[in-house]
Amino acid sequence: MFFQEPIPDTSGYMIAGYAIAFIVMSLYVASLYLRNRNLNRDVEMLEEMEKATTGLETNQPKKPTKTVTKRGRKIQS
Amino acid sequence: MADHLSPSLLRAIFAIVWKDLRAEFRSFELVSAMLVFSLLVILIFNFALELDIKTRQSVTAGVLWSTFAFAGTLGLNRSMAIEKDRGSLDGLLLAPVDRSAIYFGKFISNLTFMTLVEIIVLPIYSILYNTNLFQPGLLMVILLGSIGYTAVGTLLAAMSVQTRTRDVLLPILLFPVAFSVLLAAVKASGGFLNNSELTDILLPINLLIAYDIIFIAVSFMVFDTVVEE
């Protein structure tokens, strides 16, 4: 048999496939990166807030009354 | 509510089932809702598919199981919601009863309601579509399928009723997981309806039985963690 069927050209599909694979993976990596960045910002902000509130607590003038026991621990006032 | 529940597991299960059956027979709210819904679904399929007699035969299995699946979700949702809203779930949890008794009790009562609806739907479908659905093989498949569906459905309903989205979540959780049961059930049902070779039907039936066992086992083992506070 001299006649052989030519190999069909399905390269378009191949490119589409690989493109999608790379795009989806990149999108996921991007999402990881963005979420990471946002959370890091949240951590910074929260840590600042924490410092501020503990700072407030230590700077407050002594309150007249109670040494309240909360969960068995005394809270400094 | 739960009078004199003895610690014996079987008696506890029976008590829970009896409680549900008694409550249902007073009001019939669950079964009637499921029944009306089933008939409506069959009606919708009738219009949607508009088939000639021959093609109808081939989709019977699918239509039946879709109907049962949707109606089943209704029953599962309501059954659990009633427990939660009336506070009887908490009551059951406080009782000196093994948690698995609660699971089996709910599972059996849910199964009872589902099969009750199916038994009523079958003759109606038979008449409307002029096919005889009362073949022993088919009935067995319907029972096996309902067992698997309710086994995992009871567990998932117990979970979904505790979420913010409640009713809406149960079908989303249940259909993908119960899909294998439904798939095997449809294949087996179709096999019996088309009088296929028994060797062909045996495979989905075995799958069904395997799934029933797996789902019951897993559900009852983890049910405890799902209802604990």
């Binding site: 496939g17 | 505790q162 989205t165 979540l169 997981v177 294998s180």
Partner: protein
């Protein structure tokens, strides 16, 4: 926040390199398949993602058991990471499968058992995240997630075995013969090596993304703790 461990940084770079190599091997080095042409090359990534994703789902089910036994929420965070990455990979699997199907089976989609169960599997893990979203209490969220992932993990193996149980047009490439399978091809030696390299590649990438995702979960936990502290 602890800075990224060096091993992970190295793994990040290694993953990219290995992915590039795999793509090169699959696109350039591997021989062109005679019957379907270049679209067959999609197969290397299709199976690579499929294998890792399915193993990921099964691994998540194992994590479920570990969490339910230990009640340590660390395992819950690891599970979320495993499922999220597997979800992404399996999505790629399904899409690539569809792209392959178009020229070979002449349809973008068919409801044959394997594809149907693949979609169902993907839907299960989407439902997993929807379940978690509806729960505010972290312990309950972890518990319910574990239960559902366990149930889901029972479905993943069925996806794999469905091909052998029901007659299907999906090709069986690894052992087993199915004369009705359209689009089967036997792999030559070269193809085989590329195939295994692709499997290796996606395992590496999975571990890399998985590890990164775990760290993200830990960071989330830290934020939650801080929020509680600050609002006390």
């Amino acid at each position: 926040m602890k800075s990224k461990p060096t091993t992970l940084k190295i793994l990040d770079v290694f993953s990219i390199l290995v992915l590039g190599t795999a793509a090169y091997l699959a696109l350039v080095v591997a021989p062109t398949e005679r019957v379907m042409g270049n679209v067959q090359r999609v197969f290397y990534f299709h199976v690579g993602t499929a294998w890792t994703a399915l193993l990921g789902f099964i691994f998540a089910a194992v994590l479920s058991v570990i969490y339910l036994v230990t009640k340590d929420r660390k395992w819950d965070r690891i599970q979320v990471a495993a499922i999220e990455v597997s979800l992404v990979f399996f999505f790629i699997t399904i899409v690539l499968g569809s792209i392959w199907a178009r020229p070979v089976w002449n349809t973008w989609w068919t409801w044959d058992p394997r594809l149907t169960t693949a979609t169902i599997t993907e839907l299960i893990y989407i439902a997993y995240f929807m379940l978690r979203q509806g729960i505010d209490d972290p312990d309950r969220r972890a518990r319910f997630g574990a239960v559902y992932a366990l149930l889901g993990g029972l479905s993943a193996p069925i996806t794999f075995f469905a091909i052998r149980l029901f007659r299907t047009i999906h090709p069986v490439v690894i052992a087993g013969s199915n004369p009705e399978a359209d689009g089967s091809f036997s792999m030559t030696g070269d193809m085989l090596s590329v195939f295994f390299f692709a499997l290796f590649t996606f395992t590496v990438i999975f571990i890399d993304l998985f590890w990164n995702r775990i760290r993200l979960g830990d960071l989330q936990e830290k934020v939650e703790q801080l929020k509680l502290k600050v609002t006390m």
